[in-house]
């Protein structure tokens, strides 16, 4: 418990800022929907003028699927895939490398607590701080949708959220593992966030978007959930990456000299 509390105190500004950002995004996006819905044709016309195929497709899918596609883009792809991904990179990088960087590792690892326990506690704490605001804003988005007369099956929302949140978890765990083997907190953060921004840039390019990692959580995989088609293959990839990174992190932290 003390480790959990200390981790939160150390990162409260990041966690607080992230939560507020998600909340604003959710509220603004959800309450913008009635206006957007009324002017979808105009938006579609504007999108056709843009040279970005990804944006044209999104607007086209919103036109076709309505609130479900809008929810997928705003809440799952933007809040989860982009914002939570960035915070996952920052938070995960601080798991161990921050102590090495700030020279508190000698003190921390001299405490009578096993390294595995320490790593798992911090990993769990980071994951909670990352997932709770994301999950709560998803619930809020869904709730606002109900009040706007847009009904979505809660089970579909949960499944879609689970899919994206596992993507964020995998990313956080990979960063956590890199943090265990790094001596400076910026290195894993820059590596992961830089890589993901590169992936996002690729996603925006028409001919390359199919090889972007973001393709695994975009509307092509979220929309079919409504029709009972869950993206199992992608889900298992995220799960595999999470477990592999978790075991690698535990292995490395127990072998490293601090």
């Amino acid at each position: 418990m003390i480790l959990l509390r200390q981790f939160f105190c150390e990162h409260r500004l990041l966690v607080g800022g992230y939560s507020v950002f998600l909340l604003f995004n959710t509220l603004l996006s959800a309450f913008l929907w009635p206006d957007l819905k009324e002017n979808l044709e105009a938006w579609s016309g504007i999108a056709k003028l843009l040279p970005l195929k990804a944006v044209q497709d999104v607007v086209w899918m919103i036109e076709k699927e309505g609130w479900w596609a809008y929810f997928g883009v705003q809440q799952l792809f933007k809040s989860g895939g982009v914002v939570a991904m960035t915070v996952a990179g920052l938070l995960g990088s601080m798991l161990v490398a921050r102590d090495v960087d700030q020279r508190t590792a000698e003190f921390l690892f001299s405490r009578p607590v096993s390294r595995t326990q320490l790593f798992l506690t911090r990993w769990g704490a980071g994951l909670l701080f990352l997932q709770i605001p994301f999950f709560l804003t998803t619930l809020l988005f869904w709730g606002i949708g109900q009040s706007l007369g847009e009904s979505l099956a809660f089970s579909h929302v949960l499944l879609a959220h689970l899919h994206v949140s596992l993507f964020v978890t995998a990313l956080f765990t990979v960063t956590a593992w890199l943090s265990v083997i790094s001596s400076h907190q910026l290195k894993p953060a820059m590596l992961v966030v830089g890589f993901m921004l590169f992936q996002l840039a690729i996603y925006m390019v028409q001919d390359l978007w199919s090889i972007s990692i973001f393709k695994m959580i975009d509307l092509d995989h979220i929309l079919p959930i409504r029709y009972g088609d869950f993206p199992w293959w992608q889900f298992l990839c995220f799960l595999g990456a999470t477990l592999a990174s978790l075991f690698a992190g535990i292995f490395c932290i127990n072998r490293r000299d601090f």
Partner: protein, 294 residues
């Protein structure tokens, strides 16, 4: 209480500890001295499992510690030489955080120690000076109530009054049966506080003995100033007394106790007496010069 046998640690191709054999008894204050880079901190880190030894054995309180460092850490409290702390925490917050890991920690004692060291409880650690951080680290180590205190440079940055307090506290802890492993550059404090001392250089123990044993191997002398010129014939003669000097300034090398030497001067017109015996610092310098020459 602490026993290491042939303890080795290499960082890549560089050997830092080269077969350290050490035995520290329960209830003693054990001094561990050596120049920068001798391997003192690496040795402490090996004891706690912060770094993994390349080979050798470590036994702490009768239990093998290399394969199970957690057991060692449960018996030890550590005040690292590095004073980087969690800057966002308050002094009392840091104390609570560090004591929360120790089963038998005494938070009340920790708070009392902070007050005794005049540390502001609710001030952020980032506003603490180097000496205040050192005191805070000492307070958490002592209040953790572990059987073994591992202290790395505990007096560094402390004012004379704080040094005196820390010395008193460490003696009390040792008197209560705790083992104090005192790694330091500050040889005068090692000489004053410790029961035994080990000299480390290039990862090897050069000598390990009690302080009195180490000092007894060296010359003991006093320097005297008389209030009139003295001749050698006027000075007391004995097989244990060796005079050098002339006029009013003489130097006396003696064997036996200082009290006996001073007693032999009782009828002489002595103006002042100054101890000129070899200190631990000189023993240290001699040992390292000898090793360097080899």
């Amino acid at each position: 209480m602490i026993r290491t046998e042939n303890l080795r640690k290499d960082y890549g191709a560089k050997p830092v500890l080269q077969g350290v054999d050490l035995h520290v008894h329960a209830g003693e204050i054990f001094g561990f001295v050596g120049p920068n880079g001798a391997g003192k901190t690496t040795f402490l880190k090996c004891l706690l499992g912060i770094v993994r030894p390349t080979s050798g054995t470590i036994e702490i309180a009768g239990q093998e510690a290399v394969g199970q460092p957690l057991l060692a850490r449960q018996r030890c409290a550590y005040a690292p030489g590095e004073t980087a702390l969690y800057e966002q925490q308050t002094g009392i917050g840091f104390l609570k955080f560090s004591l929360a890991f120790h089963l038998h920690a005494d938070a009340k004692q920790g708070r009392q120690l902070m007050e005794e060291f005049e540390l502001p409880l609710y001030q952020k650690v980032r506003e603490y000076s180097h000496g205040m951080r050192r005191k805070l680290l000492l307070a958490q180590a002592i209040a953790s109530n572990a059987d073994i205190l591992l202290l790395d440079e505990p007096m560094e940055g402390l004012d004379p009054e704080a040094r005196r307090r820390v010395s008193d506290i460490l003696r009390k802890e040792a008197h209560a049966g705790k083992t104090v492993f005192y790694s330091s550059h500050d040889l005068s404090s090692v000489e004053r506080i410790c029961d035994r001392v080990a000299f480390l250089n290039h990862g090897k123990i050069l000598e390990c003995a009690s302080i009195s044993e180490v000092l007894s191997k060296t010359s003991r002398a006093i320097q005297l100033i008389f209030n009139r010129a003295m001749t050698l014939e006027e000075l007391p003669r004995a097989a244990t007394l060796h005079w050098a000097g002339g006029e009013t300034r003489w130097s006396l090398n003696y064997e036996g106790t200082l009290a006996d030497a001073l007693f032999s001067l009782k009828d002489l017109p002595v103006l002042s007496v100054r101890d000129a015996s070899t200190s631990l610092e000189e023993v240290f310098a001699a040992l390292y010069t000898e090793e360097g020459a080899e």
